[in-house]
């Protein structure tokens, strides 16, 4: 055992980096050429460090006869022909269940470059985790509130002490000068004090009471704990996945449905670890292990990342996500009507979901909030060309008024957006 661990770690690190650097120095061009071939021809099925559609390529020279690049070349040029009298590759086909595509245009030099790139990428990947030591502390949002609270408490105590000192000094001076005043009424028996305190109490209590009463049935800022820590920021923000990729039913139905497990698995069949994105934290500042969260998805999907080809989607169990945006049953709301006919952006009501790790309800979804938007939103009244909505051709009077400059635009309220029966029936 090495008694002093940090030095040992550093030593291996420098050794590794020297190893990597010497490699790069010797064959930087070959590696670049190998990378180009790998990305163009191999990367659709093979990864360096992990099995996918095809086996991982790291350490491939230690397997079978691949140390001899001529053998490797024969296999790549004509997999079907090579396999006929080679039990090892037959076993690979049985394991991965899909036949490798042949690349007859690959030359021996290409194979050398490819292997150089694979070894280099593998060495870099192995050296990678020990070199990255970036840690970011999550920001504490309410530290200002604490500071202000402490300051006002201290000031209040000082004021109390000063008042006490003041009255004591007055008493002392009165005693010294021989003036006798009537005994002071303590402040909690003083009627003016009591009346004022009562007034303040009723004002404050009334404010909070009415606020709480208005808030009944409203869920602004509601952010329930979900069964899986799913970050919309990572998916819709950083990776730019369209909202409609997962919530596609918002386009043609009442609900923006929560996706079924198979839609998650479209990508997570291959993406089985969270390494490239920013660090994730829960509300208490604890770090979230993204890879462990993906494992929860695999558990629900019944997916074994070691055997991706054996997965049976019909065995998947639904994940019980918690619905955040709830309208009472006596309100009718239709997503497709708003985003397709009304061309409203998702963000108008749901806020900047692309910046939220945990989604919370941004709008209050109250009736006043709905009505306000119906009053202000202008309708795209064009119906004549292909981008327009032919339905609006029935509003002849409005079209005439616009033509005669009697009105400049039509809002939702003009075409029935304030009718009770639009939403309550």
């Amino acid at each position: 055992m090495i008694p002093c661990k940090p030095i040992g770690k550093k030593l291996t690190l420098t050794l590794l980096s020297v190893f990597v650097f010497s490699f790069v120095y010797v064959s930087a061009q070959d590696i670049a050429a190998g990378k180009a071939i790998f990305m163009g021809k191999c990367a659709s099925c093979h990864q360096i460090g992990k099995n996918g559609t095809g086996p991982a390529l790291a350490g491939l020279e230690e397997r079978h006869k691949w140390a001899d690049h001529n053998e490797l070349l024969k296999w790549i040029n004509n997999p079907a022909g090579y396999m006929k009298n080679d039990p090892y590759t037959q076993g690979l086909l049985a394991e991965y269940k899909s036949m490798m595509t042949g690349f007859s245009d690959i030359t021996l030099k290409d194979v050398d470059d490819l292997v150089a790139y694979i070894n280099d990428a593998d060495a870099k990947a192995k050296a990678g985790p020990s070199t990255t030591t970036t840690t970011g502390e999550p920001e504490k949002g309410n530290s200002n509130a604490i500071i202000f609270g402490v300051i006002s408490l201290i000031l209040a105590i000082i004021a109390l002490i000063l008042m006490q000192v003041n009255s004591n000094l007055k008493k002392m001076s009165d005693d010294a000068e021989g003036i006798s005043r009537p005994e002071q009424v303590p402040f909690y028996k003083n009627k003016i004090y009591i009346a004022m305190m009562a007034l303040i109490f009723f004002a404050v209590a009334g404010y909070y009471f009415s606020k709480a009463a208005i808030g009944l049935g409203r869920q602004t800022d509601y952010a329930p704990v979900q069964p899986i820590y799913y970050s919309h920021k990572v998916h819709a923000g950083i990776n730019q996945i369209s909202c409609l990729y997962c919530h596609g039913s918002a386009w043609d139905s009442k609900h923006a449905a929560i996706p079924a497990v198979n839609i998650c698995m479209n990508c997570h069949k291959s993406i089985n670890e969270y390494v490239k994105g920013p660090k994730l934290y829960d509300e208490a500042g604890n770090e979230i292990n993204g890879t462990a969260e993906i494992a929860k998805l695999y558990k629900a999907a019944g997916f074994d990342p070691a055997k991706p080809n054996d997965w049976d989607p019909s065995k998947a169990k639904p994940i019980e996500w918690v619905k955040i945006h709830n309208l009472p049953d006596h309100v009718y709301f239709n997503h497709s009507q708003h985003i397709r006919a009304g061309k409203v952006q998702c963000q108008s009501c749901h806020g900047e979901v692309t910046a939220m790790d945990e989604v919370k309800q941004v709008s209050e979804l109250s009736m006043g909030w709905c009505i306000n938007c119906h009053r202000e939103t202008k309708v795209d009244f064009n119906y004549s060309d292909s981008t327009g909505n032919k339905f609006y051709s029935i509003y002849e009077k409005f079209h005439n008024d616009i033509k005669n400059h009697k009105m400049d635009s039509v809002s939702v309220k003009d075409i029935g957006g304030l009718e009770c029966q639009k939403c309550h029936y």
């Binding site: 990305m39 990367a43 659709s44 099925c45 093979h46 990864q47 992990k50 996918g52 559609t53 899909s98 949002g141 309410n142 509130a145 604490i146 609270g149 408490l153 808030g215 009944l216 049935g217 409203r218 869920q219 800022d221 509601y222 952010a223 329930p224 704990v225 990776n239 730019q240 996945i241 369209s242 990729y245 596609g248 009442k254 609900h255 449905a257 079924a260 497990v261 198979n262 839609i263 698995m265 479209n266 990508c267 069949k269 291959s270 993406i271 969270y274 490239k276 994105g277 509300e283 989607p313 019909s314 998947a316 169990k317 639904p318 619905k323 009472p328 049953d329 006596h330 919370k360 292909s386």
Partner: protein, 207 residues
Amino acid sequence: MKKIWIITGCMALMAVMVSCNNTRRNPGRAYMPDMAYSRAYETYSSTENLKEKGIYYTSMPVEGTLARGDMAGYSLKNDSSGYVQSAAIKSPLSADSIDLKEAERLYLINCAICHGTKLDGNGPLWNNGDGPYPVAPRNLITDPITANMAEGTMFHSVTYGRNSMGSYAAQLTTKQRWEVVAYIKSKQGSASAAKPAADTATAVTPK
């Protein structure tokens, strides 16, 4: 003695206010919720009773059933012989009935995330190898496998998934899948027809 009580009370109040978290974890209460919660089955209402019977919403539709408004189903099976046979299948949509703008919208939502807005196999999930996706999506224009792929085979792959790609039958209806295939084929056609002026292919895309 009294003062100590007041001070401890203040401290306790402060502690409570400070420890209050900003994250709201419960939905709150409704006032007289007579009409707030649906009696009828609503989307996302509990399906515990169905679960007992082994029915999950992730199940496949019963064979031979058709979604309302969708076109007739696709009969080939998800196996290697079905994949080979699919090459002979022709799109049931006539060329002039396809709304390419709608097809492009569908492509951009469902496919471009991997295969790229320019069909170059470099969507945000791959991003020249810097994205989270571990394997390179196919370049739909230049890769000989996809460039020469029959439209039936392409439809088969979108329906059942192929290699790392998953099935899109849950996200796109039969008609929409044929539309997306038609969009890819039209892009491939204009790319091969106008090789010298390759930029014209992307210039016609509406904003």
